[in-house]
């Protein structure tokens, strides 16, 4: 095992896949000469040259669509967005074209493309730079959506995403790029898309948490352990396909569940998982499922309001206390 920063794990995945397959290329704002806005592509231009590491203008719709067309015509592009907040400008290409072209042509055209970049809030960046989009894209048939929490998952899943013959959205976080973690040094390390992981075993309550929320769950679990409440933490890693059996199995053991999601509450992953649990494990539940999400409010700038807005360890602890009837 080697200790890598999140950004190094991502770079390693891209590097290995580019070395392996000439058809893999990366394009996006500042990915080449600037070495990546968050340094996830550092050194790749020097290694692979201007043909395969391509700086784009700030034209998300334009270059996302060029990526889609290139994928249809035989290449395997990685399209980097500086944040998924900007990818909203390219939503037509992701939602109306990449996800649908195979179906509407009766299977004639494949679209092996990865759209990747940071997702969700990164501190006091205001309303337009702070949204989590994983649930939104997971709504659409034809897309696979990954939002990982640790460098090891990021490496293994990004390599899978690049090899996948379908369109995949791979989400990261500005605030996690510097996070260090042990990464498997197994040659050609691959984690299959759609497989979650039990990251902490516990008997009293199941916490479902992915992306940055996983780290909140870890902190809450530490707090609760002081009170002898043992949390089981499931990191789905892939939002879609969702590893529902893993979650249900855990609920059958703990009989209680709190879902953490960095999105707004309406129609997000937390809502979806909550529904699925009542359908699949209704008789196993000892308390209504609770969730911790952002409120149904835009991201504020002011520090005090931001702290109110962003999910906290206290909210998670309170939710656990609620499902364990400890309050």
């Amino acid at each position: 095992m080697a200790e890598l920063q999140f950004r190094e794990a991502i770079k390693a995945a891209i590097d290995e896949e580019m070395a392996k397959d000439e058809k893999v290329l990366i394009m996006g704002e500042e990915v080449a000469e600037y070495n990546g806005a968050y340094k996830t592509t550092e050194g790749l231009l020097d290694k692979y040259g201007y043909k395969r590491v391509i700086d784009t203008p700030i034209s998300e719709l334009g270059f996302a669509g060029i990526g889609v067309g290139a994928a249809m015509n035989g290449l395997r592009p990685i399209v980097e967005f500086m944040t998924f907040n900007f990818a909203v400008l390219a939503a037509d290409q992701i939602i109306n074209h990449a996800s649908k072209v195979k179906y509407m042509t009766g299977g004639q055209i494949d679209c092996p493309i990865v759209f990747r970049g940071p997702n969700a809030s990164a501190g006091q960046l205001g309303a337009t730079h702070s949204v989590a989009y994983d649930s939104m894209y997971a709504h659409f048939p034809g897309l696979k959506v990954i939002y990982t929490s640790e460098p090891d998952d990021a490496k293994g899943l990004l390599k899978s995403a690049i090899r996948d013959d379908n369109p995949v959205l791979f989400m990261e976080s500005e605030q996690m790029y510097g996070l260090k973690g042990e990464v498997s040094d197994e040659e050609d390390y691959i984690i299959p898309i759609g497989k979650g992981k039990i990251k902490r075993e516990g008997e009293h309550v199941t916490l479902v948490a992915h992306g940055k929320m996983y780290h909140l769950a870890v902190q809450a679990a530490k707090e609760l352990a002081k009170d002898n409440v043992e949390c089981e933490i499931i990191d789905p890693r892939t939002v879609k396909p969702l590893d529902l059996p893993l979650i249900i199995e855990s609920i059958k053991k703990t009989n209680r569940c709190v879902i953490l999601d960095e999105a707004h509450p309406f129609g997000g992953l937390a809502a979806e998982v909550g529904f699925l649990i009542q359908r699949e494990a209704f008789d196993y539940l000892d308390a209504p499922v609770q969730r911790v999400t952002l409120p149904d409010v835009c991201a504020p700038f002011a520090k005090n309001l931001f702290d109110l807005w962003y999910p906290s360890v206290k909210q998670v602890v309170d939710a656990v206390n609620q499902v364990t009837y400890r309050n």
């Binding site: 996302a64 249809m72 195979k102 879609k240």
Partner: protein
Amino acid sequence: MAKKKSGNVEFAPRGIGDEKSGAVQKGVDLPAATKSKHKDLGLSAAKLKAMYEQMYLQRRFEERAMQQYQKGKFGGFLHLYIGQEAISTGTTFALNDDDDIITAYRDHGWGLCRGITPSEGMAELFGKATGCSRGKGGSMHFAKAENHFWGGYGIVGGHIPIGGGLAFANKYEQNGRISTCFFGDGAVDQGALHETFNIAQLWKLPAIFVVENNGYSMGTAARRHTVADIVDRADGYGMKSAVINGMDVFSVYEKMKEIADDVRKNSEPWFVEIRTYRYRGHSMSDPQKYRTKEELEEYQKIDPIERLKTYILENDIAKEAALEKIEEKVEQEVLDAVEFADNSDFPKDEELYEDMFVEDDPYFHT
């Protein structure tokens, strides 16, 4: 002092009814047609007859399709290409067979040009499993990827970046192919066009972007939805450009061949405005109140199929009887296509879940 408020505030320019002279409004001003004869263009008698057959096929295919639609044989949208056939035909004859073509939802003619058989096309309109897109696409999503016809797309302007992407892959692979991307005049107002033009010029993509300007963005005349001449947009990007008379197949063929050669040689994009006219409404539900009957008649007088027919007869390339034979053959093919479509099976229920993902056994959320 605040400026006095005007009581008469307007935004979009008005449509028909405000002409002062009583002259017929024209959807587009056609540039002069080429003076080149078929021999100057290197077109043999056999090629001319093939062009005629192709144009006639597109026309009759759509006329029969319209009939079947009105009989209730299929639903959904039906956008007819009638009047614009010289563009698809002239272009496909000018390109290499492995050059890429991608277009918008007015796509039947393009599909027929690129080897979708009348039966596969009609069956697609009927939503049958034997259709070119297995009944999954319908009128707006004809496609034949193996022949480098990447399909018709339903979001106005959405396929323009994709056309750039097809060209990107050709440049990346250095395979000698070029890509062509066709769209209507309404798409010119989309940001997707401008982003793609900037990148295509900056990255020297081997692409030809073509607006088939038929004078109307659905029911809105070009002068009411966009400023200046459409082709002038090329200047802002330093892109090579041309205007072509789209009611004349020779003009389309000649210029598109010249442009394709240039793109293949220099790997630089072009923006081409081909002016044309659609005889039918935007779709089948269009009452066409935005234009006059007289205007339509002006263009029907210069019908591209009649024009080619006249040329063939006047230049003694084929006798009337020979053309009639072609017409009868096409007529029969189209009737057979209707019968084929009618008799074909709808997709099986389990096909609802096919073609979403590459895997044989993909995950579907329930």
